[in-house]
C-alpha cells in the first residue's frame, strides 16, 4: 500500500509541530520529559508514514538498518556515563552529519537534475562530511584518544581555505556537468579532510563552542538534505536544530569573551604583561587540611560550591552532594555557581549535579550568583580554574581579560580543591590561589570532599 504525497506531507507537518512542542517543553525542567516524549512521537509518526512512500519497493535493507542502528543507539544511551556526555553528543552530531551526507550521496547516485537539487546535494555533502569527520576529531579529543591540545602546522589556514574553495568549485562544476562522478567523490574527500583540519587545531577549553557549532552544522546538513529531496519535514527540523546550535555557540563564545572566528582558527589573545607562576604564588599559597576546612564550614551561614571540569574528572558529584547535605543538616545554606563554560559542553555541570540528585533550583547561573559572593562565608571551588581567575577582571594585559568570571574571591573564605597549582586551559597562573582569604586543599577532588564531610560529621 502506498500513501499519496499529500498525506505524507500532512503527517510531516504534524511531526514538525510535535518537535516544536517538544522544544517548547524543554524550556522548563518540569515539562521537559513530556516535551522529549512528544518530539519522539513526532519522529515515530514521520518514520511510519514514510514506510508507505511510493518509491519504497523493498523493506529488507530498511529493517536491517533500523535494527542495527536502533541497537547501537540504545546501547550507547543506556551505558554512557554522565561524565562522558560531551563525547556522546559529539558522536551523535557526527552520525547526524554522516546520515545527511549519505542521504545526499544516495540522492546524487540515483540521478538528480536541476540546479537547485544539485547545489543542495553539494551543500549537504559538504556540511554533512565536515560534521562527520569534525565530530570524530572532537570525540577523539574528548575521549583523550588524541591530545586535547591544539594540533596544526604552519599554513594550515591556507590549506583549509583551498579545501573550502575547491569544494565550492566542485559543487559549481557538478551543476554544469552532473554526470561527472569523479568531481563528486573529489568533493567528498575534500569535505572530509576539511572537517578534520578544522577541529584539530582547537584546544580542549574551546570544546564547548565546537560541540555547539557541530550541533548546528548537523541541523543545517539535514536541512540541505531536505532541499535535495524536497522534504518539508527535513527542512523545518534541520533549521530548528541549526538555530539551536548557533544560539548555544553564541552563548559559549560570550562566556569566554572570544569571537567565533578566534575559536575557529585557534587564536588565543596575545599575552601582554603575563606574570610567571613563581611571581604569583611564591610564599603566598596556604595549603590546608580537610579538618581545617571542616572547622571553617562549621560556623558558615552560607556556602557556595563552584564546580568545574575537575569535578567531572574526579567523578566527585556524589561526594559534593553528600557534603552539601551534611552542611544543610547543620542549617547552612548551600548553592551552586555554574559558569556557562564550566566543563566540556553547555550544561555539563548541571547534568552531573542532577545525576547526584541536586535539586535544579540550587544551581545558579553566573549573573544570579555573582552579587551574592560578598555575603558568602565559604566558596568551595572544585576543579575549576580559569572561570574563577581574577586576572580576567583586573589585568588588562591578560589574555583572558574581559572574560566574565565567577567572583569567588569576594567570599569571606575561598577553599580551592585541586591536585596542584598547575594552570588551566588558558595556561595562566591564578592569583586567586595566592589571596589572603584562599585556602588550597591539594588532592583528588572526590577524596578531598569526602574527607571534609567526614571531618564535619565528627565535629
Amino acid at each position: 500500500m502506498h500513501l499519496a504525497d499529500h498525506w505524507l506531507n500532512i503527517a510531516y507537518l504534524i511531526a514538525a509541530s510535535l518537535f516544536v512542542f517538544g522544544i517548547k517543553g524543554l524550556t522548563k525542567p518540569r515539562t521537559a520529559v513530556r516535551g522529549n516524549q512528544m518530539a519522539a512521537s513526532g519522529m515515530l509518526i514521520a518514520c511510519v508514514v514514510t514506510l508507505f512512500h511510493r518509491d519504497i519497493v523493498g523493506y529488507e535493507v530498511i529493517i536491517a538498518g533500523l535494527v542495527i542502528g536502533g541497537l547501537i543507539g540504545a546501547i550507547m544511551a543506556i551505558r554512557v556515563q554522565m561524565t562522558s556526555m560531551p563525547q556522546m553528543i559529539a558522536l551523535l552530531n557526527g552520525f547526524g552529519g554522516g546520515a545527511s551526507f549519505a542521504v545526499a550521496t544516495a540522492g546524487y547516485l540515483g540521478g538528480l537534475s536541476g540546479a537547485v537539487a544539485l547545489i543542495s546535494t553539494g551543500a549537504a555533502v559538504l556540511i554533512g562530511a565536515v560534521t562527520l569527520t569534525g565530530s570524530m576529531v572532537a570525540f577523539a579529543k574528548l575521549q583523550e584518544l588524541i591530545s586535547g591540545k591544539s594540533i596544526g602546522f604552519a599554513g594550515m589556514k591556507f590549506v583549509n581555505a583551498l579545501l573550502l574553495l575547491g569544494s565550492l568549485c566542485a559543487i559549481g562544476y557538478l551543476v554544469v556537468e552532473p554526470g561527472n562522478q569523479m568531481v563528486f567523490w573529489a568533493l567528498v574527500v575534500a569535505a572530509a579532510l576539511l572537517g578534520l583540519m578544522l577541529v584539530l587545531p582547537i584546544g580542549g577549553a574551546d570544546m564547548p563552542v565546537v560541540i555547539a557549532l557541530l550541533n548546528s552544522y548537523s541541523g543545517v546538513a539535514a536541512s540541505a538534505a531536505g532541499f535535495v529531496t524536497g522534504n518539508s519535514a527535513l527542512i523545518i527540523t534541520g533549521s530548528l536544530v541549526g538555530a539551536s546550535g548557533l544560539i548555544l555557540t553564541q552563548i559559549m563564545c560570550k562566556a569566554m569573551n572570544r569571537s567565533l572566528t578566534n575559536v575557529l582558527f585557534g587564536v588565543m589573545a596575545e599575552a601582554g604583561s603575563s606574570m610567571s607562576d613563581d611571581e604569583v604564588y611564591q610564599g603566598k599559597v596556604k595549603s590546608s587540611s580537610a579538618d581545617e576546612v571542616a572547622m571553617i564550614l562549621e560556623t558558615a551561614q552560607r556556602v557556595v560550591i563552584v564546580p568545574g571540569f575537575g569535578m567531572a574528572m574526579a567523578q566527585a558529584q556524589h561526594a559534593v552532594r553528600e557534603l552539601a547535605d551534611t552542611l544543610e543538616k547543620r542549617g547552612t545554606e548551600v548553592e551552586y555557581a555554574i559558569h556557562p563554560v564550566a566543563g566540556r559542553m553547555p550544561g555539563h555541570m548541571n547534568v552531573l549535579l542532577a545525576e547526584a540528585e541536586v535539586s535544579y533550583d540550587k544551581l545558579k547561573d553566573m549573573d544570579t550568583i555573582n552579587p551574592t559572593f560578598e555575603q558568602t562565608d565559604v566558596a568551595i571551588v572544585i576543579g575549576a580554574n580559569d572561570v574563577t581567575n581574577p586576572l580576567a577582571r583586573e589585568d588588562k594585559g591578560s589574555p583572558i581579560y574581559g572574560m566574565p568570571i565567577l567572583n569567588v574571591d569576594k567570599a569571606r573564605t575561598v577553599v580551592v580543591v585541586k591536585r596542584s597549582l598547575s594552570s588551566g586551559f588558558a595556561g595562566l597562573p591564578n592569583p586567586l590561589f595566592a589571596k589572603d582569604n584562599t585556602l588550597m586543599l591539594f588532592g583528588d577532588g572526590k577524596q578531598a570532599i569526602i574527607d571534609i564531610s567526614t571531618a564535619l560529621k565528627e565535629a
Partner: protein, 91 residues
C-alpha cells in the same frame, strides 16, 4: 516543492528556532543538545526512501548507511535525553 517555497520554510523555521531556543534555561542546555540531535535524526525519513529504492544497488548501500546512522541518532538521542531529563525531574 519549488525552491522559493523551501527557502521560505527554511528561513521561517530558523526564526521560530531562535525564538524557542532562547527560552531554554542553561540548566537544560545539555539535554537540549542531545534532544535537538535526536530531532535532527529526521534525516531518517530521507534515508528510508533511499534504502527502499529498488533500482540501484549503490543508492541502497548509501541508504542503508544513512538509515543506520540516523537511527543511532534518533534512538540514542531520545533515550539519553530521557535519561537526563528524568534526573532533573526527580526533585
Amino acid at each position: 516543492m519549488d525552491f522559493i517555497a523551501m527557502l521560505t520554510l527554511f528561513v521561517l523555521a530558523i526564526f521560530l528556532g531562535v525564538e524557542l531556543i532562547t527560552k531554554v534555561p542553561p540548566t537544560l542546555h545539555t539535554p537540549l543538545m542531545s534532544g535537538s540531535n535526536a530531532i535532527s535524526g529526521i534525516t531518517l525519513v530521507g534515508a528510508l526512501i533511499a534504502a527502499g529504492d529498488g533500482n540501484s544497488i549503490m543508492v541502497q548501500i548509501f541508504g542503508f548507511i544513512a538509515v543506520v546512522l540516523a537511527t543511532i541518532n534518533v534512538v540514542g538521542g531520545f533515550m539519553v535525553t530521557n535519561r537526563m531529563l528524568a534526573m532533573f525531574k526527580r526533585k
